[in-house]
Amino acid sequence: MAQEMVRVFIMGKAYEVPKGLTIMKAMEYAGYQFIRGCGCRGGFCGACGTVYRMPGDYRVKVGLACQTIVEDGMYLTQIPVFPANKATYNIEEMRPTLGDLVKMYPELSRCLGCNTCTKVCPQELDVMNYMAAAMRGDIARTADMSFDCLMCGLCAARCPAETVQYNIAILARRLYARHIAPRAQHLATRVQEILDGKFDQPLDEMTRLDRAELERLYNERDIEPE
């Protein structure tokens, strides 16, 4: 049975590729070997941000090349890197406040509320509203709403206010985790025990056990219920 093909335009050049492939696999089918624009191939790393248009539609669409299926007539190019502004900071010395956020990213307040970022996000995040939360100084909400961000850069590439949403978001997440979320007390306790050397001797003893003894201990160990 002949494979059903679709025609796609990769950076303006037409190729016939099998229907049902992802953009990434279609480009490889067309003969490309990726250097840029390809990372985890599984929708986690944000390396393969792609913009495309469909015939008869003026709107620009976006997707991750590893996650988006080709369609007939798709006219596409990748944006593997975007020259985004990234502040440098000492997370420990910062406070989780609007003031500190704006000090790092003064352009935050330039947001026009146009919602373009939300419309282009391949993760379907509500980018505009996490930016709105950031502008209110609601760091916890910005952190929560932006959590699934892959930092692919498509929002920043399309932002008329030239803000870099994903860099503001990671700062918010780090501020939240470092300064707002309560610290894990059991962890601090265990770390102190380790630093005090409480486990050094028992661990040394374990490294000297022979295989039979280890097997016995392993097979007899009790297992915490689900």
């Binding site: 985890c40 959590f147 699934d148 780090r174 962890l187 490294t207 295989r211 097997e215």
Partner: protein, 543 residues
């Protein structure tokens, strides 16, 4: 891309048995049953997947054909003519690799005052670390201890793990969780700050810490952000293609290749840390893989040529639950957390056939038995075998909304293909996931080659023959940090050495004498999926 009528027929049986399975606990394998299952079905025991490597320090060791092919291969550099008189970068510590291990190493070496250069093949953060969904183990709860963690690691690994490495892993585990918490890594917590922890395959305590199902991504993007904050110099798209030696057994630097211009650059370094990841993209035994694009074992090749030992490379981890449908995502990882939350594995008839949280090698083998011996797997229209992972059971147990809350990445992935995993099970089949072995190291990540350190998946020994879920994110941070500390410390007493490719010359001579490796060049750097290069007779290793 929704399920075919034939698959839906089988799904009805899965639905019909769900209520009964809610209370049904499939028995765990006895040690003897597990051994038997592994021997009969695990690809590590298939005679056609491996051969002994004929040259180098570990000659005679069995390794997958695909790895031996690139070990028995020539350098990209001609040791007789390659110019080493111009030094492009002169540093204390060279970190090769941009993942969790490399970035942890860079941060620690930099904090210790070393002049650090980090180089990576793709972008900073393009690594398997970014893809790890399930979590990171650490014995930090009152009912747990590093000793219990030790027992789980070494039992899971087949009791052959290197004890000093296991000790380091479990000892440092709570320390690295604290380090990450301090860096602002957003772990899942109770309102009072208690870490939310789950079981994973082979754990005897709930010690799996997670950041939703973006655990690795959250750790990686935090480390990457911090590397940038510290303004540590990073060169992207510039893999190391060969190490340099002083001709007397010490490592003195590396040669980089700019992937875009194909120009070479010489780095002189007092110490070198290899953290280049594993070999998933070699597609051992022709399995699909969960690994990121750059996982081509470059570090193994370079370390082996300079004289480091390779261990446990005949042990490959197949993750039991790779996607088997739809076709576009075959091989992609379905995190173990799905089973941790209660999803069971069931066959075409809707029956359980294995306790879902056996170790990965055992679960993989059980799935292969179901598909290829018992004929009770599901076969898709493209001929792909698989069994059901009954994801709707998760909401049955934990309530509606659990999947979207705990597994947002996976929910989104399946939704793209018209599958609602809250209501329909998903089809899975084993996929090549992890290189259990690697370069032999000591607990400070040093190797038998002076001034060469190795951390993360490139190294071997800590996991024995089988790594447990949640111990690779732990491994990369624990040993990445140790490498950074040790390499910076060593660099303080090392004088920059002579730069030669003597070891490559010797290796080539060994290949010549064995009459092998003609026409093969390595490291591979990038896999070749471009269609024109897959034609018979074409060189599959270009660049």
């Amino acid at each position: 891309m929704a399920y075919t009528p034939q698959m839906i027929e089988s799904i009805r049986l899965v639905e019909a048995s769900r209520e009964r399975r809610y209370t049904e606990k499939h028995p765990r394998l006895s040690p003897a049953e597990k051994q038997d299952l592994l021997r009969r079905f695990h690809p590590d025991f298939r005679p056609d997947t491996m051969r002994p490597v004929k040259v180098g320090p570990s000659r005679g060791s069995m390794m997958p054909h695909e790895l031996v092919d690139i070990l028995e291969a020539r350098s990209r550099l001609d040791p007789d003519t390659f110019p080493l008189d111009r030094i492009d970068y002169d540093v204390d510590v060279l970190v090769v690799g941009g993942g969790g291990a490399g970035s942890s190493a860079s941060l620690m070496a930099h904090a210790a005052g070393a002049n650090v250069l980090q180089v990576t093949k793709l972008r900073l953060g393009d690594a398997n670390t970014m893809m790890a969904q399930g979590g990171i183990q650490a014995a930090d709860k009152p009912n747990d201890s590093p000793m219990i963690h030790y027992l789980d690691v070494i039992g899971g690994g087949g009791f052959v793990n290197k004890p000093d490495l296991v000790r380091a892993l479990v000892h440092d585990a709570p320390l690295v969780i604290k380090w990450l918490e301090d860096l602002g890594c957003m772990f899942d917590k109770e309102p009072d700050g208690t870490m939310i922890t789950q079981h994973g395959g082979g754990t005897s305590r709930k010690r799996m810490h997670a950041a939703r199902d973006y655990s690795g991504a959250e750790i990686m993007r935090t480390l990457r952000d911090e590397v940038r904050n510290r303004q540590i110099p990073v060169i992207e798209f510039s893999p190391a293609v060969e190490l340099l030696s002083d001709g007397e057994g010490r490592c003195t630097g590396a040669v980089l290749m700019n992937l875009e211009t194909k120009d070479f650059f010489v780095v002189r370094a007092k110490t070198v840390i290899l953290a280049t990841g594993g070999f998933g993209r070699l597609h051992v035994a022709r399995f699909p893989t969960t690994n990121h694009y750059g996982a081509t074992a470059d570090g193994l090749v370079m370390a082996y040529r300079i004289g480091a030992n390779l261990i446990f490379l005949d042990a490959t981890q197949f993750h039991p639950t790779g996607a088997a449908y739809p076709e576009q995502i075959v091989g992609l990882l379905i995190t173990e957390k799905v089973r941790g939350l209660g999803a069971q594995l069931v066959n075409v008839h809707g029956e359980q056939f294995v306790f879902p949280l056996e170790t990965r090698d055992a679960v993989s083998s059980a799935i292969l038995r179901e598909c290829h011996e018992r004929g009770t797997g599901v076969i898709t229209e493209t001929g792909q075998h698989g069994v059901w992972l009954d994801s709707p059971m998760i909401e049955h147990i934990h309530g509606e909304g659990t999947i979207q809350r705990a597994l947002p990445a996976m929910f989104r992935q399946y939704k793209r293909f018209g599958i609602d995993m809250r209501k329909e099970p998903i089809l899975v089949y084993p996929t090549l996931h992890y290189q259990n072995g690697g370069v032999e190291i000591s607990d400070d990540t040093s190797t038998c080659i002076e001034n060469l350190f190795v951390a993360g998946e490139t190294s071997g020994g800590v996991h024995g023959r089988n790594r447990l879920m949640g111990n690779s994110l732990l491994d990369v941070v624990v040993f990445g940090r140790r490498a950074g500390v040790a390499a910076a410390e060593r660099a303080r007493s090392v004088k920059p050495g002579r730069l030669t490719l003597e070891h490559v010359r010797r290796y080539h001579k060994e290949l010549d004498e064995a009459g092998i490796g003609m026409g093969r060049v390595s490291p591979m750097i990038l896999p070749s999926y471009a269609r024109h290069e897959a034609r018979p007779g074409a060189n599959s290793v270009v660049l």
